[in-house]
Amino acid sequence: MKKYSIILIILFLFACLLPIAEAGKVKLSFDHYYNGKDVVTTIKKLNRAYPHLTSLKSLGKSEEGRDIWLLTINNPKTGRDTDKPGIYADGAIHGNEIQATECVLYLAYYLLDKYNELPMIKKLVDTRAFYIVPVVNMDNRARFFTDPGGYNIGRTARVPYDDDHDGLIDEDDFEDIDGDGEILQMRIKDPSGQWKTDPNDPRVMVRIKPGEKGEWRMLGSEGIDNDGDGRINEDGPGYLDMNRNYGYRWMPRYIQSGSGDYPNAAKATKAITDFLVTKKNIAFVFNMHNTGGMILRGPGNNLAGFYPPRDVKVYDFLGKEGEKIIPGYRYLIVKEDLYTTYGDFDEFSYASLGIYSMVGELFMSEKEQYRGPNEKPESSAPAGWWGKTSDAEKQKFNDNVNQGAMFRNWKKVRHPQFGEIEIGGWRKFTTRMPPGFLLHEEVHRFSSFIIFVARHTPEVRLELTGIKDLGNGMKKIRIRLTNSSAIGTLTYRSIAKNLTRKDIVTIGGSGLKVLSGGIVRDIHFDRVDYVEHRPNMIFTAVPEFGKVDIQWIVKGSGKAKINFNSLKATDRELIVSF
């Protein structure tokens, strides 16, 4: 009896646990931002809820000692992660570009949450490996939530640097003068200033026209002159832009500001570089940022070298699909459509590691437009440098769509150096990132693009296409490797520069002598590029939406084992008996 009751209790407990395990499928919402701690607890939660599909690992510690987490999604029942094409996605290499994290977090969540529900997702997760680093810049993304700041503050790694070259390091940061927890803009009354208030909306600042009387002088972001050099906020903590610190075409600071002392001088760039070289299966890299509504690819500078036309075709195919998956986003080239950058991550992963790589710039000011159908923007209020929505229009969006949550109105403050000034402006969680109600769509659509690309990582089929008896115990064996995806097993840059090992196709078997072998250039006319040495081993790459035919002439009988061994595609094996 006692025995039974124990068993019953165990059964009961087990029954209780079942729904928990089932409900342990964490429910996450994407109408808000996850702060530094929330991100970590969330990925740990996901890892606990999906122990059979995920693993969690710290790639190293940040400058301030925070773990840089990697969440790997792989189904070990269908093979080791390194045997499958890998997709790497990271977020918030720039600490203030926070929704980049929500985007890759959503990707992870969606893949896990829909695993049992959507066959397409199940198939994808079972055949691919996902490597997700939700936050690269752990320190400044965490501080974005806790420290007084603004949407432009916290981009870089906290590696100390004497920005103003005065012999003191990081001595003149921003200050939250009015103590409201945010670093906003300062303005001072000045008839010789270049700005006035918009007569239609006193919150909006307008540039004066030549001959007009000025009203305000803009003083920059909130802060004081800490070191008495006559400048404010000119040497804040750090300045090492991790997205300029990677090892391809890295340039010193006088060419590329924020590049750091040398490549991989930041903890995270070093940790991620060290990680990526261990995962040769990664076939695509996404590096997530804000802002501007863009899908970017290299080259980022004139020295980035030749992008082989077939690589460009791969990028173009994917990028153009991306423009449809995420309406309003534009597929652009960094150097040509934006500006020159050196040492950025996507260029490094493409040019040095041989992985197709793209950057996502989430959110754009067009999302904050306030216009009727067919209405044109008011011409009197010019749009900003980056955005297409004027401040005046954005204020209407703020008032009528966001109930005033986005702007802090100007208020009088005493500044220790300037005297009476006013502080106000667009608040921290605005401008570069969507309000919560727009976040979900944004991260879903971009994740869908990543999923689309992941579906197009190489998928290679190996099949026997013919055995021909040549007499004298000799046989001609032909096989075909077919890749149904938009991404080949190697980038063309990688082939040109010998960046990664090619796919190896081998034939072997006891009682089998391989007389010759090679890649068939023309199946009808039997044109073959014969390999003189080691004909049993053919080095090749299977192109995007394409095929490779291989032929061997062998002597002997019995069974032959044909093996396709690829770094970036799942290996295949074929037994041929004759």
């Binding site: 600071r253 006088y254 500001s257 040398y262 490549p263 004139n302 020295l303 040019a351 080691r534």
Partner: protein, 663 residues
């Protein structure tokens, strides 16, 4: 003069020791022995000498630095030897330098800290002691050089068992090489234009281990950490590294130097010599320009003309206007313009460099060390030597110790060599007269020129004696009349034992071959009996270099009373050293830290002027900057003017502010 006779004495003594103790095969210390010696030094001179670990190589060897410090806070000289790993004598020289600094030179030279790295590339250096002997500076990182399925699977083999990896020659229709007539060892490339047909194919000694048809295509290692620095790094090379600073040795050195902002000069003992042949001066380094065009896309956004050139300052202003971003710096604008990095020394640094080179050559001449010899190695991409100047921003010089001596050719005339012409002024050259200049042109083999044209170009400023010398150097022959490589021939004439005579060998895949050729390290290792002398004769120049470093003084202090307790204080910050602080290239890259001038005193109040005045550059030989404050302080108080920076000796000047007591 006393100093030189002293060093000569020391040299003689060392020479005597060398004679008494005949040098054995192991004249160079193994990495392990070097490590042991450093420890011994640290124990013997504890309090001054400390050994620290900078990195561990892929071959698990230590990269160590010997720090000689008499006083914390002193500026430091960083010396690295053998960063490329293929120059054993450099390591011996570094050890010798440490020895001298702790011994006979301990006086004024030790007012600098010395950070000495005897082996920058320990794996590469260790290859000199390996059996069989195989010349390579690569570290031991496994690299799949031929991108097949394995790494390091097809290295060389000592087939003839002589302990050396030399060459194999095989008679083959595809052969491009022939033996030099009347010579049993030298080879040369066949010149079809002279009716020569190639006979031999050349291979390095070994077999095709992996059966891919290639010999020794994936040997042990590795990358060369001496080619892995992030200036002019060569991407996509099999030996430089996967990316700049990918190698532990390189990163170790980078990190060490950035952790030591007190380093004011970097020296390298290697196969390079940047004083023998000064790198060309700034010609068209993009970053040195001050006017730029703006790329069309950006120009459109800024509403400016893409065809116009703008001054950098103007662009900064325009960009600040366009973006509304006040903190925008010139560097950020340059980056938008896609400007490339400097590749030639800054034109303001070059004259100092050239002057120092002149001093070096005089030193060699005075000590009869200027015999003709093969040129030092050309500076490779990704070198420590260039990086330290271009990015770390300090004065950096490389010295080599030995190359194969070249027999002086018989002089037919007064022989206008590149060196001689370089030393001349334009006027002196013109003064040679038409006949001599014409003869010179004829001898140089330049057609279509005459003396009048040259004189005209010199007078018109299109040409200079420096340019003529540079052109002559470029034209210097790399092949002898018989078609042999000049350096091979020089080695042959210097030491016939540097060659292994070709001997027949039955090769498993190539069949009949001959094995022979130049012995590994023959070009970089002098006869063992001469090593100590070579080092001790040349090393005293390091003293001269250390004595040219910037050295500061605060003088010309003027104190002017403005009212009862208000003073106008002026002072000059003067650099009495020869070299500017820092380099102009350093100023461009904002490294090293600036000089900072400040005032201190009890109850002083600065009414005008900055609390701290950073100075980003001060020229040498009396270059000065005036600093000024208006200070309110009680009569009779004392005031300290301070000059501080990590990489200089800090200076304090105390003055008393007293009525009638100005100065």
């Amino acid at each position: 003069m006393l100093r030189i006779s002293k060093t000569e004495g020391a040299a003689l003594l060392i020479l005597l020791i060398a004679i008494v103790q005949p040098c054995l095969a192991g004249v160079y210390k193994t990495p392990g022995e070097v490590s042991k010696e450093l420890k011994t030094v640290a124990v013997k001179y504890s309090g001054t000498a400390v050994v620290k670990k900078i990195a561990v190589s892929p071959g698990k060897r230590l990269l160590e630095v010997l720090e000689l410090v008499t006083k914390r806070g002193n500026p430091a000289i960083f010396l690295i030897a053998n960063m490329e790993g293929d120059n054993p004598i450099a390591t011996s020289a570094a050890l010798e330098l440490a020895d001298r600094l702790l011994g006979e030179w301990k006086g004024d030279l030790m007012k600098y800290s010395w950070y000495i790295v005897p082996i920058g590339n320990p794996d590469g250096y260790a290859r000199y002691f390996s059996k069989p002997l195989y010349e390579s500076g690569l570290n031991n990182r496994p690299v799949n050089a031929d991108m097949d399925d394995r790494a390091d699977e097809d290295g060389p083999e000592d087939l003839n068992g002589d302990g050396l990896i030399t060459m194999m020659r095989q008679k083959h229709p595809e052969g491009k090489w022939i033996a030099v007539k009347g010579n049993t060892v030298l080879m040369k490339k066949a010149d079809r234009a002279k009716g020569e047909t190639g006979i031999y194919r050349l291979f390095s000694e070994g077999i095709d281990n992996d059966g891919d048809g290639k010999i020794n295509e994936d040997g042990p290692g590795g990358y060369n950490p001496g080619h892995n620095f992030p200036h002019r790094f060569k991407y996509y090379s099999k030996t430089t590294g996967t990316w700049p600073a990918s190698e532990r040795e390189t990163t170790g050195v980078l990190k060490y130097m950035f952790d030591h902002p007190e380093i004011v000069m970097a020296l390298s003992f290697s196969r390079l010599n940047t004083l023998q042949a000064v790198p060309p001066s700034d010609k068209k380094a993009e970053s040195g320009k001050d006017k730029y065009k703006v790329p069309a896309g950006i120009a459109r956004k800024m509403g400016i003309d893409p065809n116009r050139e703008f001054h950098l300052d103007e662009l900064v202003e325009l960009a600040r206007e366009a973006t509304g971003f006040r903190e925008l710096t010139a560097e950020m604008v340059l980056q938008f313009l896609g400007v490339a990095a400097a590749v030639n020394p800054d034109k303001k640094d070059s004259p100092y460099w050239e002057e120092l080179a002149k001093k070096y050559k005089n030193f060699l001449k005075e000590n009869k060390l200027d015999g003709k010899r093969l040129d030092a190695k050309k500076i490779p991409g990704g070198s420590f030597e260039e990086w330290a100047y271009y990015q770390y921003g300090v004065w950096t010089f490389a010295l080599d110790f030995w190359t194969v001596p070249v027999k002086e050719e018989k002089k037919e005339d007064d022989g206008l060599t590149a060196e001689k012409i370089e030393q001349m002024t334009n006027e002196e050259f013109i003064a040679l007269g038409r006949d001599k200049i014409d003869a010179f042109i004829q001898k140089s083999g330049r057609k279509g020129f005459n003396a009048d044209m040259i004189i005209g170009a010199l007078k018109g400023g299109m040409l200079s004696t420096k340019k003529i010398a540079e052109m002559m150097r470029k034209m210097e022959k790399t092949k002898t009349a018989e078609g042999v490589d000049v350096s091979d021939k020089a080695l042959y004439e210097f030491n016939k034992d540097a060659f292994v005579p070709w001997k027949r060998y039955k090769h498993p895949t190539l069949g009949e071959v001959e094995i022979g050729g130049i012995k590994p390290y023959a070009f970089v290792t002098p006869p063992s009996g001469e090593i100590n002398e070579i080092i001790s004769q040349r090393i005293p120049f390091i003293c001269d270099m250390a004595r040219m470093l910037p050295s500061f003084e605060i003088n010309n202090v003027t104190l002017k009373r403005v009212s009862s307790d208000v003073w106008r204080v002026k002072a000059w910050i003067v650099n009495n050293g020869f070299l500017p602080y820092p380099t102009h290239q350093g100023k461009r890259n904002r490294r090293p830290a600036p000089l900072v001038v400040s005032v201190a005193g009890k109850d002083i109040k600065i009414l005008e002027g900055k609390k701290r005045i950073p100075i980003d550059l001060l020229d040498g030989s009396g270059g000065y900057k005036e600093v000024e404050w208006l200070i309110s302080v009680e009569d009779g108080s004392s005031l300290d003017i301070l000059l501080t920076a990590p990489a200089v000796h800090n200076v304090r000047k105390s003055v008393v502010l007293k009525t009638g007591g100005a100065r």
